[in-house]
Symmetry: C2
DNA sequence: TTTCGCGAAGTAAACGGTTTCTTTTTAACT
DNA sequence: AGTTAAAAAGAAACCGTTTACTTCGCGAAA
């Protein structure tokens, strides 16, 4: 059924070298006559190279490992889509791995990928890892001894990374709220140490400070970036004088919406709301929800680009991508 | 850096055969003394086998290709999560491929996976393919000459497949609407030929018939399974006497919600609504949305199980999984 | 003492390509 | 016609494992 180069060589009456050279379109020698003849034979028998053999011989696998915390989270799944499309465009396969936001698992999977012989890794680290502190993060990152790029999680290390500007995201969101007259602005950011949680908070604080507003620690809430996180925090926020809430994840925001719905109230009647991630669902709500828009597909393709150059060069690249606000109707001027 | 079996053999003063046998825990021969010695050396230098070489020698890759129409669609991303977790549990890697719901691309990707030497394929086919008719579907499916299982798309062919009971889904949804007193029930199913579109429609028709209701072709609408599909159809549905709408995809439903929101109306005030897929977002809406719930993670793990047995056996398995209704508040009794 | 059997280990041929090096062929120039 | 360089093609080593087959050595049976 499946035929090899040797067989093609036999059919064409040439050596395997010749076949290899032709089929790989190598510049070198080989008359046009042989070229077309061999290609024709290969095409007719629809020859496909055995990629294990190619990998073994060339010592590269044309495969990139992609590790994410949770494939089914809309943010990550969009990112994966962008990454795998870009990778495939460049002739690479993607081995996608779900860490389930658990570092132990994440570490094990990375090790397996390395042993598996992937050419490089795109790592979107778990919050679980980051919550364990910088030291832990650094030792882990330093232990990866093949080309990799850290995606969507700032690191002080001199490594390849591509991030979205979370500080700017926090700043823009807060500024919009302030521009609409709000002064008591609650923020629900990620848990202590969570990826991007501190940076977004910093942006929020800077915006307040720049506008001469006081930073009230009682308005700062933390939760996991998920439905339940928002569901629980919104109950505490109601004890505060906040008139606007900045959720650092749309998912948390939805959780808050749910909590209000359950008691027959409408979250948007009580608060000006801004979310983060610009999930497509935001335009379905009434009112439509304003959210910090991250260019996820750019994040994915940049990550691939950086990894690609890292594969052949030694210098490290650090990219930070701009973030914008998708202004819709959930923020209202305070009267 | 990376050491090979040969080097381990040299260190231990034995042949590579011995090392291979020991490291693979083969029953055969080899004294306990050598066993522990070799294992110790391997562990100390943390030896990892070169998987290309293993693949080449054993003619298997421990890798499964997974082809889906759109990674970022919530239904597919949940499915992928289930699949890749299950696969990883069984020691397989998953090569996930996005066909972008385009058959030409899908076919190319499948061919690449085969040439890549994956052990098997989990194929969630594109609507694009199914829309091209049964003949096209069959020739394509028949052309795949490695073990594979067709996921979430019925086929008459005698091949491995695992599906969700779409007929039952259509039936249950319609019956609920009927039980609530509705007689003019619109359905928005997938475009002609789309995966599962006909079967869900059949379920709908059977439920109407079983209840002695007439089947009004003017209440049957078709659209792609996406936001825009619903957005457009809802405008036509308003010309009909329908009091209830069965959307065969939550995404279409959201599109309809959006259309109503834009004209400051609430879809749920005008219609009893039921969706399909039970997307997590449904419980965030007000009212919460009733939807046909498919056990996606079961679908994924069953698919893997079937493929796994297909890898070592010749008989084909055809699994059909039950579907349930997640009844919430979007269906109201007609008074 | 020779032979047989068996456990323990080694040899070497795959697996299907890539690539370096060497050899043959062709054609161009005295 | 003879020389030579370039063009075309082949031989063989190599990538790191697996595995069928062979060999070795030693104790038990004859």
């Amino acid at each position: 059924m499946k035929l090899t180069m040797r067989e093609i060589a036999k059919m064409a009456g040439v050596s395997v070298t010749t076949v290899s050279l032709v089929l790989n379109d190598k510049e070198a020698r080989i008359s046009q006559k042989q070229r077309t003849k061999i290609k024709e034979i290969a095409r007719k028998n629809n020859y496909v190279p055995n990629s294990s053999a190619v990998s073994l011989a060339k010592n590269e696998s044309n495969t990139i490992g992609v590790v994410v915390p949770n494939i089914s989270n809309p943010f990550y799944s969009s990112l994966i889509k962008a990454i795998s499309n870009e990778l495939s465009k460049r002739g690479y396969y993607s081995l996608i791995i779900n860490s389930n936001d658990n570092h132990e698992n994440e570490a094990k999977q990375v090790a397996k990928l390395v042993s598996r012989g992937v050419d490089g890794i795109l790592l979107v680290p778990s919050n679980d890892l980051y919550a364990q502190g910088t030291d832990k993060v650094n030792t882990f990152l330093n232990s990866i001894d093949i080309p990799f790029v850290l995606v969507n999680a700032d690191s002080d290390l001199d490594i390849n990374q591509v991030n979205l500007d979370s500080f700017e995201g926090g700043y823009l969101a807060t500024q919009l709220l302030i521009d609409n007259g709000h002064t008591d602005i609650a923020i629900v950011t990620g848990n202590k140490g969570f990826v991007n949680a501190e940076t977004r908070l910093l942006g929020y604080q800077k915006a307040l400070a720049d506008n001469g507003l006081t930073i009230d620690p009682n308005l700062v809430f933390r939760a996991p970036y998920d439905l339940n996180g928002g569901y629980e925090r919104i109950q505490q926020i109601q004890q505060t004088p906040a008139t606007a809430i900045f959720f650092c994840s749309d998912l948390m925001l939805y959780g808050a919406v749910k909590q209000f719905n359950e008691s027959k109230r409408n979250l948007f009647d009580h608060y000006s709301i801004i979310g983060y991630d610009d999930t497509f669902i935001n335009e379905i709500f009434n009112p439509t929800i304003t959210s910090v828009k991250q260019n996820v597909s750019q994040l994915g393709s940049e990550a691939v680009r950086v990894l690609y150059t890292a594969l052949s060069s030694k210098l490290t690249i650090n990219v930070k991508l701009d973030v914008t606000l998708n202004v819709r109707d959930s923020v209202k001027a305070l009267d």
